[in-house]
């Protein structure tokens, strides 16, 4: 009985732990191995070296995906954080109906990216949405056709993504702002700081851990974004708004190139690791140093 009592937590946790290890880490390793093979529609376990990576990096479509990924991630990150902070600061001014407004800003987060994508597809469609609206009210030369312009379609994904996620970032920052001791703000007022310098010089520098959460959440959302792209542009026009995740599913499930798809998946994995791990490491180390 004592043995059972002592080991009960371990026994309860172990099935899910085993499943997690197998299906997450096991399949990461599996994918890694497959990326070194010549697999087409079915896995082929004969080792083939790194040729799939050479193939991958010689494809224009992959290059488009990667550059789209950088455009999307950086804009998505910067805009979400900027808009989130501004909204949070505005909501932090002890305004009326704050709970109501907060819910409105947070609601897009409750939608799936498919719904967001479909809605924005209609809004941005030149013959249905914004462009038609402006032409109808008299601006006959108004054009807003990014959705169907090859070089610009990626920015429509940015717009939809930012619309969906900035409310959530606002909520995170609002929670952070609320945790700031009132006395610090009073002290800054007595020190003669205006509202702008209170925020830029004192409060936002205190938000470092919040920035960390926001960045980690947004970067991983950006890199794995697939459904939004599919619903909004399907990677089009052509392949101009492709993202690595779209590229990967296309090759894995539509074009029967599991080996190539795996190598692209590994490239995405390395990208996440390369961005997030050093950032996490430096932030966590800084926190350790404090204690």
């Amino acid at each position: 009985m004592i043995w059972l009592k002592r080991n009960l937590p371990k026994i309860v946790i172990s099935p899910s732990f085993a499943l997690l290890v197998w299906f997450v880490y096991g399949f990461i390793l599996w994918t890694l191995y497959i990326s070194f093979t010549k697999s087409k529609i079915l896995p082929n376990y004969k080792f083939w070296g790194i040729d799939q990576y050479f193939r991958l990096w010689s494809m224009d479509r992959w290059h488009v995906s990667v550059s789209n990924l950088f455009i999307y991630t950086s804009l998505f990150l910067i805009l979400c954080i900027l808009i989130g902070i501004v909204l949070a600061i505005l909501l932090d001014q002890k305004i009326r109906a704050e709970g109501f407004l907060r819910t409105i800003y947070l609601y897009p987060m409750a939608l799936s990216f498919i719904v967001t994508g479909t809605a924005w597809k209609w809004i941005l469609n030149p013959t249905l949405g914004i462009e038609k609206f402006f032409i109808d009210i008299g601006f006959e030369n108004f054009t807003f056709d990014w959705l169907i312009t090859p070089g610009m379609s990626i920015y429509t994904i940015v717009i939809a993504g930012v619309w969906q996620s900035s409310g959530f970032i606002m909520a995170i920052f609002l929670a952070g702002l609320r945790s700031v001791d009132d006395e610090i703000i009073k002290a800054a007022k007595i020190d003669g700081a205006g509202v702008v310098s209170i925020y830029t010089k004192i409060i936002l520098p205190m938000m470092r851990p919040v920035f960390m959460s926001a960045v980690v959440i947004l970067v991983h959302l950006a890199i794995k974004s697939y459904d939004l792209v599919i619903a909004l542009t399907s990677g089009g026009p052509g392949t101009s708004s492709d993202m690595p995740a779209v590229f990967m599913t296309q090759y894995a499930f539509h074009r029967s190139e599991i080996g190539l798809a795996s190598s692209s998946a590994i490239m995405m994995f390395l990208t996440v690791t390369a961005i997030v791990i050093p950032y996490l490491y430096s932030e966590l180390k800084r926190e350790d140093g404090k204690k």
Binding site: K186, A188, K189, I190, D191, G192, P205, M206
Partner: protein, 366 residues
Amino acid sequence: MATLKINDINKNFGKTEVLKGINLNISDGDFLVLLGPSGCGKSTLLNTIAGLETANSGDILIDDYRVNDMEPSDRDIALVFQSYALYPAMTVRKNVTFGLEQRKTSKEKIEEALVNVSNLLKIDSLLERKPSQLSGGQRQRVAMGRALVRDPKIFLFDEPLSNLDAKLRVEMRREIKKLHQKLKTTIVYVTHDQTEAMSLGTSIAIMNHGIIQQCDSPKVIYDKPQNVFVADFIGSPSMNLIKGRIIEENNNLFFECDSSKSKTNIPLKNYKFVQNKNLKDKSVYFGIRPEHVYLNQNSDQSFEIKLKSELNEYIGHEQIITFNFNDQEILGKFSSSIDIPGNQEINLHFDLAQISLFDQKTEERI
């Protein structure tokens, strides 16, 4: 260095009246302590002086200049907060100089002020650290440095020592006192700790329910409390208040204790009444501090009485004995070197030069 006048300040939060007609007059170089239980309005009063709260009515004058409508930063005051309120993302140096930078002071002057203050408070070795790397006492020093560096007219302290442990608190208390002696600035200091108030203040304003109960020097507050609240609030253990009434026998006034059993009349012929009318048969509290109950006669106004000891609380340097005085409890404070037997009739001496009498109805000193 300045005078501070507070004229009839009222402050409401919604329907709750927090400050009800506060009047204070603080002269240059004074160290005024606002003392009271939590929720008495002392911090609100301090915030009103600082300009962080606005009064509903009344005037605040610094150097006879009305500052009601001025921003906190324009009042030339500095406030040290209970939580220290250091800016966590800045180094100590930046924390101290932030106020001067906001005021666009020249770099040389900032550097000079920083060097002066950091030497004075012995924080010169901490300048490059972040607040999270400092101990409580060090943070306290930095918070004071931030206030001192601007050389303001008035210093405001909002319970600055209450987050420190007991030993450090005593140490910092002495340092604040030394600092005040050296700099001779006008200080308003909020605390709920009576020892802090007694040891620091040149005058103490005791507040309760948004009203100043008494504002006097520490000695007057201790010796001649204005009402029952002050008598009870100051002193530890607090003053014994024995219910009874004043009677007159052979043209002399006596205090007669409420009791069915024995009659103990304490002579009041040497007591200095505030006024002499209608004293006879008044229901009063007879107040005597535990430290003014003695075992032997040591004053020409001693009153000898035999009381039964009931409880002995030993607290190291002293002991507190509970006696039964006609079914009312009375505490005595004695040196712990004396051996006092329990449950025994003991000869005690009340020093009648140090008693206080309060009207039971108005609770005011008579």
